[in-house]
Subunit: 441 residues, 2 copies
């Protein structure tokens, strides 16, 4: 087939599949679809497996089934499952029925696990040995498996019993350096680290990062070996999860990219911006309540954004540190209380310093707003006190918001930036205007 490939496609064929996928993604979708059909199936299959998942529904919508099935047959089962996971249920079923039986079965096995679990990111190409085999038998087995279905990584070989339950692990190193007739059971390591097929993928990332694994076996509930997770897959997951955290904090959906088509961005961003509108109205309402105070002391309006902005920024710092540590699994029970104490202390100290500065500014500019010097001093006190109180509020809610979201089994990052700035806007305005009303009036 490659020999009949048009010459203008040759440049594509010399590229790494990841680079080719990049290139295709930047073309209009019709053109990308066209090229994928023209290219040799091996090239097209590898490139399709590398494409951004969010582009797949559009790309595959009008893809002729007869052209798509061979591409799916050629992919590693985990990639086939990822691609099929992105398209409508009925298309998926139809494609699976038309794929080769073995490939369809393998993909179906993987499709049963939720995307964001260990099962959703594992591969099915690994080598199983039996404990009673000898080293020479094992080597023969590896050779044979290697011809049948190229395993992605043979650094480790997995020893299972007759029910495919994992009982040990052998490194290729030990297999090479042992005598031919030694039994696998004599060289295998019985203390095997593993993950459960239902483990959350964030937990898998933590495990890999902490213990420096390059790969880990995945077991189902009965201890049966069902897959292997490779370190490179974990790297992709870690990057995606962190991007998601950053995005969710500011009310994005976690999967937006710079070049995401605008209608999709529009649909995804609008809801949280509407939430933000509602919460911002709360802050506006506080100002409305103190209408009279502002009319009397317009200078207070000058300090509204300053108090709110400092509180918002300090609160964001607290939230950011805690959301990250939660995601990385670095918080133990009891750390929440320590964090709260630390943040309140910081809020008090930083609030005192910044409070003194803005207090002085307040006292200095008061005369320009027609205040007597003594009243200016009082204004300075009001502004400084409001600043301290708002930074304490920022500290308190900066800790509480992620912990509360987690308590309600939501993502601790979810809209946390919007929530904390609402709190610091509302609290800051209230402290400043209420103190102003009580003391200045």
């Amino acid at each position: 087939m490659a020999e009949n490939t048009p010459i203008y496609l040759e440049e594509f064929m010399g590229m790494h599949p990841a680079d080719l996928a990049d290139r295709l993604q930047r073309l209009p979708v019709d053109q990308a679809r066209h090229y994928l059909q023209e290219l040799p199936v091996e090239t097209a299959s590898a490139a399709l497996a590398e494409m951004e998942e969010e582009l797949l529904p559009e790309l595959l919508k009008d893809f002729p089934q007869a052209k798509l099935v061979p591409l799916l047959n050629l992919m590693p089962a985990e990639d086939t499952a990822d691609v099929l996971g992105e398209i409508p249920e009925e298309d998926k079923e139809r494609l699976l029925r038309n794929m080769d039986d073995a490939e369809a079965e393998a993909a179906k096995d993987l499709l049963q696990y939720p995307e964001d679990t260990a099962g959703g990111i594992m591969g099915d190409r690994f080598i199983m040995l039996r404990a009673h085999q000898t080293v020479i038998q094992a080597q023969r087995r590896i050779r044979q498996r290697h011809r049948e279905q190229q395993p992605t990584d043979i650094n480790y070989l997995f020893v299972t019993d007759k029910d495919e339950k994992l009982v040990g692990i052998v490194s290729i190193r030990d297999l090479i350096f042992s005598e031919d007739e030694v039994k696998i059971s004599d060289i295998m390591d019985r203390e095997v680290k593993y993950v459960r097929v239902t483990d959350d993928q964030e937990e898998v990332v933590r495990r890999f990062e902490k213990y420096h694994f390059l790969g880990l076996p995945v077991l189902d509930e009965e201890g049966k070996l069902v897959g292997v997770i490779r370190g490179d897959e974990v790297l992709s997951v870690a990057i995606d999860e962190q991007t998601e955290d950053m995005q969710k904090m500011v009310g994005l959906d976690g999967e937006e990219r710079t070049l995401t088509p605008w209608p999709q961005s529009f649909k995804r961003r609008l809801p949280w911006l509407c939430v933000n509108l509602l919460t911002a109205c709360l802050a506006g309402a506080v100002v409305g309540v103190f209408e009279g105070t502002i009319k009397e002391f317009v200078v207070l309006a000058v300090f509204l954004p300053i108090i709110a902005s400092q509180g918002g920024n300090a609160g964001m710092q607290t939230v950011t540190v805690i959301v990250r540590d939660m995601a990385l699994g670095e918080l133990s029970p009891g750390d929440g209380r320590k964090a709260l104490f630390k943040e309140l202390l910081l809020g008090l100290l930083i609030g005192a310093i910044i409070g003194v500065i803005v207090g002085l500014v307040g006292a200095l500019i008061a005369p320009k707003f027609g205040m007597a010097p003594e009243t200016g001093g009082v204004l300075g006190l009001v502004v400084g006190a409001a600043m301290v109180l708002n930074l304490l509020a920022a500290a308190l809610f900066g800790v509480l918001i992620p912990f509360a979201l987690k308590f309600f089994r939501l993502d601790p990052a979810l809209g946390s930036s919007i929530l904390i700035t609402t709190v610091t806007d509302v609290a800051g305005f209230f402290f400043l205007l209420a103190l102003g009303k009580a003391i200045l009036a």
Copy 2:
């Protein structure tokens, strides 16, 4: 030595080094230092290599040299270099002089590379073969190297010429499955992927993520093989780099953790909060300029936080998407313009929707602030128009700020959250108050 270990340390000795490091980090530093001296050197060395780098200066300050040197001798050179990189220059020199020669040399070799480059994260334990060797000779070499200095990963073996320049790569797989007398040059792959020792570690992460490597050789300027980077190290780097991006956006230093001692957090957070104070004063100044307008139409003050908050949130969304894509290397030349166009379009659309809503709110609440119904309608127009304009400003600067930071060779994330909210505060206040003054008055 292990036999003389006090019984109360036995629990520690059964732990994985990463877990032990975790435990020690949560103890008072004097106690952690004490345990590290009491534990068998193998255990203590492995745990020390796993500890958070930011805790090392404090921990090692009063560590008796005679006790520390054996721990450093036992670590892989890259870990020794990481530890030594965290302590004062003169202590470092003294320790290196007292270490075993080979270990000191290896650590010094690695210490010459900046921390955040490929050289700073590579290891030096790999196996070099020569092209003219036969498979059986190579296997003997592997066995010997394996006894001398356990290589961390023998999935791949590196073929070099007499000057240690990389000429090819052989997988352990091919080595096992080839006949004894076959030459390495006949089975090696000459198209080797690699990174340069001076490459930025972010670039290394991108390369690993895109091409799914589990490990990569590192070459110096002349093509000499100087190290190997493992996928698990890259995972740690990716996580650290992303945490840094998130933190830098809100004016944190990139390395803060929930349990970072408060004096350190204080020192690190204060500078950016002072920057924020200055920029917030700009927003306050805008309000001050329109003192008269606010006195006349206090209702405008109610909408100040609403306009500013929407702009800030929308701007943060734009900045977040762009900062991430820049860090992941997903933006090509020309993408900036596309992004700007898309964001402006979104700003216009979302601004129009949100603008109509707040405009209606404005018209509805105007009578409560003593305005005539007609004036209320005008107020609605003013508020709506200010919202649209501020969301356009958010879009424009949300794209410009990260690109400008990058242009000036700064981290695109650096303080970007503070910068964008300043812009949207100042611009939002100005649009609302200037329009209010021009149209309402």
